[in-house]
Structures are given as structure tokens and as C-alpha cells.
């Protein structure tokens, strides 16, 4: 990872975490398709969502600093996704690789935008840092869940292109 040390991030400073641990991908529960269920699902207008589907939407989002996915860095994990389909609610927790990661807000914004574009509009989404894993946990959580701040951020073309870069290969 010597190359990483000489890379600069968007703010012009050195990488926050030049040498992150890359994890083996975890085994996920297998999805079983029941054809009768599928027919039922297609009949009902409602598109049911489970945690695995939500994880599929965000696992391949790219880390802003490294050519690695959030799944490879264990920033996003299947276990940290809660879905209450009946009440149209999704809660995602993500884990920054280091407690002072200045990219935490950007990563959270990427997850929010990706879910905004992928989930049916009936869903309410809360995005939070896994408790105890970031020094600015409360401040980052507050920003990520303030819709006015998020709306304004997404009108900033520089920020929007950073977000789009990170999520461009995530489908």
C-alpha cells in the first residue's frame, strides 16, 4: 500500500486511513425463491423488502479513499441493517474504519443517496454510525438525518459527483 501514502484525497490532505484492513467477504444467508411466493408478490402491488436486498443495494458502494467496496472494509455489514417492511422503515448502521475518519459523512451520504434511488419511496431511512466507532458520532448522525442539509448537499455539484463516483458501480 505504498502507493496509497502518496495519494491525496479530495481535501488535499493525506489519506485518513492509508492502510485499511481488507476483510474476506462474509457468508450471507441464502435467498430461497418459492415460485408460489413470487407469483403472490407479483400480484400484490407491494414490493417487499428484506435486509439482504438492502445490503445488496449498498455493499458495492466504493470507499471514497480506496478502490475497495464498503463491504470489503466491513464499513457496511449485513448484521447492521434492520428492515421493518410492514412499517416501511429501514435502519442502516455503518462502521468507519478509524474513529477519526473525515470521510464518515461522505460515506453516510453515499449510503443515503443510494437507498433514496433504490428503495420504493414509501420507505423512511435512518442512517447512523455504529455506536462507539467514531469520535463525532452524534454530529455525523445529526447531519445525515437532516433532510434539509442532505438536500442542500446534493445541490452542490462537487459533492454530488463525489457521491456519484462512489456509487456508480454499486448495482
Amino acid at each position: 500500500m505504498t502507493r496509497a501514502h502518496t495519494q491525496v484525497n479530495m481535501t488535499g490532505s493525506n489519506l485518513d486511513n492509508p492502510n485499511p484492513v481488507v476483510f474476506e467477504l462474509a457468508q450471507l444467508p441464502k435467498r430461497t425463491y418459492d415460485p408460489s411466493n413470487l407469483a403472490e408478490e407479483m400480484e400484490s402491488q407491494r414490493d417487499d423488502i428484506d435486509p439482504l436486498e438492502v445490503f445488496d443495494m449498498i455493499r458495492k458502494i466504493n470507499d471514497p479513499e480506496h478502490p475497495l467496496t464498503l463491504e470489503q472494509l466491513k464499513v457496511t455489514q449485513y448484521e447492521n441493517i434492520k428492515v421493518d417492511d410492514e412499517n416501511s422503515y429501514v435502519n442502516v448502521r455503518f462502521t468507519p474504519t478509524i474513529p477519526h475518519c473525515s470521510m464518515a459523512t461522505l460515506i453516510g451520504l453515499c449510503i443515503r443517496v443510494k437507498l433514496l434511488r433504490s428503495l420504493p419511496s414509501r420507505f423512511k431511512v435512518d442512517i447512523q454510525i455504529t455506536p462507539g466507532t467514531h469520535s463525532q458520532e452524534e454530529a455525523v448522525n445529526k447531519q445525515l438525518n437532516d433532510k434539509e442539509r442532505v438536500a442542500a448537499a446534493l445541490e452542490n455539484n462537487n459533492l454530488l459527483s463525489l457521491v456519484n463516483n462512489c456509487i456508480s458501480n454499486s448495482d
Binding site: S121, K142, N145, E148, A152, E155
Partner: protein, 334 residues
């Protein structure tokens, strides 16, 4: 006492989230704005539907967050994420009502989030993510001069609202507080800081005589404040908890005493102060929910506002707008 909301109109037109609504003082026009960067003017028709009669485009480069009519109904102010506010004049061209831009207010460093006219219509307040509140004075030539730049909030200022009769400005913020600003011979200062909410305070509204104020927050609560004795500072008299399940973005207190609140749980709640006989303890202020509309919009409800005047048949109207790009009108059935 029960009162329920009945949906009487749904208006399409905006192509993005609708952020804010403002009734003209007579209640004949409704202004709206949103993420599509337009301001729309709607005429209230006899059958309680809305007709879009004018659209302002290409004025603001980014979201228009808030609109507010002046007390005379002659001017409309708008706040935009492009860090400016604009003031529009209502014109009547051979019966065609339109808005013409009068001034652009520049000075804030980033997103302007709210605008409010004082009771006289000569002072306009603006607030921004830059943590400041500005007060502008409109002179006889309809020109605007900044008379105060107020610092005090430690975070974004979400909303500004003048007291309905006194020259006191209230601002609510991402720093979880509300501040009251008063002037001492043209020297504006923060006279009180109101704490009580545990997260962002999104909006405030006053009852008709200004003796009480209600605030709403990301903590899902509404707080009622006694504002009669400003000298000692507004006192928290009642908290309405357990009604909204997500952030409350907007609250409005009607002339008739009804409080409407709305937010990210897609719902609109209506509350009313209990009469002296309804309350278990004497002299204790209490409020009861009279109505709730759980799926008021297909997404967050961003603004609720009562029509300032009853219709001729006595109907009280409420307008709401949301992330579903729609504006809805509701009749309060008492």
C-alpha cells in the same frame, strides 16, 4: 371536542418536493415553492380548489426553501439555497395577477432557509446555514437595507418568525435552541435563549394575540411557551409528546386556536387548548389532539398553514405540501 380534517383539493404542478406555502393575508392567493426552483401562485376558487395562475422560474439557481407574504399582501419574500433571498411585488396586469421581482438580498454566506415580515411590513428577517440572522429595512422607495446581522446561534438557523404584534424576532436552530431578539434604540441583541428541545428546532408559530408560542422539533415534540411576560423570558408551559413518530418540520396556530403540525411521519396532527373546565388541575395549561391524518401525503409533509380567513360559509381551510410534490387543501370539520 372533536374536529376532523377532510381533504378537499389536491394540486399538482411542482416537479420536485414542495417545501413551503404562504397564504396571502386575505386568503385569496396561496404561494408555494420547492426543489424545482420555482415559485407558484395559486388562486383559491369557490369550490375550494386551487388554480395555478403564475409561475416564477429562472430566478434562483437552487432550491427555494421558504416563501412569506407581507402583511399588506403586496410583497412576497422567498429564501433560497443559492444564498440569496428575493422580494417580489404583486402586480395586476388587466386582471392577470403576477409577481415581479423587486430586490435580491445578498449577504448570507450559504443557504437561506427562512424569511419573515414583521407586523408593520417594513422589516424583513432572513436566516441561514451560516448561523446568522439578518434584519432588512424596506424604505419608501421599496429599497432594502440591512440594519442588523445577528450572531448567537452556534449552528444553522432553520426558521425566523416575528411576534404578531411586538417588535420581537424569534429564530429556531439546529443548535436545539430558540432565540428572541429585541432592539434597544436600533441596537439588536439576543434577549432570551429558550432551551427545552433536545434536537433541531424546525419551526415556531404564535397564537392570534401572541401570548403563546408553539415550537416543533426533530425530537418529535411540540413545546408550548408562554410569551406574555417577555421581560422574564418565555416560559415553557406544556409539551406535546408521543404524537409524531418522526421529525416535525412545520407548525401553525390558527386564529381560531387550532394548532396544526406535520412532519417526516407523513402525518398532520391538530391540537387545541383545553378549556378551563376540561383540565383536571386548575390553571394548568393543557392541549388535546382533536384530529390526526396519518397518511396526509405520500412522503414527508414539509409545511402546514391555516388560511387566515374563514370562507363565507364558515369553513376553516388548511393547506399542506410534501415530498410527493403535491399541495393539498383540507377543511376542518367541527
Amino acid at each position: 371536542m372533536s374536529a376532523t380534517l377532510k381533504n378537499v383539493a389536491v394540486s399538482e404542478g411542482h416537479t420536485d418536493r414542495v417545501w413551503s406555502l404562504s397564504w396571502s393575508p386575505s386568503g385569496s392567493l396561496l404561494a408555494s415553492c420547492g426543489g424545482d426552483k420555482t415559485i407558484r401562485l395559486w388562486k383559491l376558487k369557490d369550490d375550494n380548489s386551487l388554480e395555478c395562475i403564475h409561475t416564477c422560474i429562472d430566478t434562483h439557481e437552487r432550491t427555494i426553501r421558504h416563501v412569506c407574504w407581507s402583511p399588506s399582501g403586496q410583497y412576497l419574500a422567498a429564501a433560497s439555497f443559492d444564498s440569496t433571498a428575493s422580494v417580489w411585488k404583486k402586480v395586476n396586469n388587466n386582471g392577470e395577477i403576477a409577481l415581479e421581482m423587486l430586490a435580491r438580498l445578498e449577504g448570507h454566506e450559504n443557504e437561506v432557509k427562512s424569511v419573515s415580515w414583521d407586523a408593520s411590513g417594513s422589516l424583513l428577517a432572513t436566516c441561514s446555514r451560516d448561523k446568522s440572522v439578518w434584519i432588512w429595512d424596506m424604505d419608501e422607495d421599496e429599497e432594502f437595507n440591512c440594519v442588523a446581522v445577528l450572531h448567537g446561534h452556534s449552528q444553522d438557523v432553520k426558521a425566523v418568525k416575528w411576534h404578531p404584534s411586538k417588535e420581537i424576532l424569534f429564530s429556531s436552530s439546529y443548535d436545539d435552541t430558540i432565540k428572541a431578539w429585541e432592539d434597544d434604540e436600533d441596537d439588536w441583541y439576543c434577549s432570551h435563549t429558550l432551551t427545552g428541545h433536545t434536537s433541531t428546532v424546525w419551526d415556531v408559530s404564535f397564537n392570534s394575540d401572541g401570548s403563546k408560542m408553539v415550537s416543533c422539533s426533530d425530537d418529535n415534540n411540540l413545546i408550548i411557551w408562554d410569551t406574555k411576560v417577555i421581560g422574564d423570558g418565555p416560559k415553557q408551559v406544556c409539551t406535546l409528546s408521543g404524537y409524531h413518530t418522526r421529525t416535525i418540520f412545520s407548525v401553525d396556530w390558527s386564529e381560531e386556536g387550532y394548532i396544526a403540525s406535520a412532519g417526516a411521519d407523513d402525518s398532520i396532527h391538530i391540537f387545541r387548548e383545553d378549556g378551563p373546565g376540561d383540565s383536571s388541575e386548575d390553571k394548568k395549561v393543557s392541549f388535546s389532539q382533536t384530529s390526526v391524518e396519518r397518511k396526509a401525503h405520500g412522503g414527508d409533509v414539509n409545511c402546514v398553514t391555516w388560511r387566515p380567513a374563514k370562507r363565507e360559509d364558515g369553513t376553516i381551510l388548511l393547506a399542506s405540501c410534501g415530498d410527493d410534490n403535491l399541495i393539498k387543501l383540507w377543511a376542518l370539520e367541527i
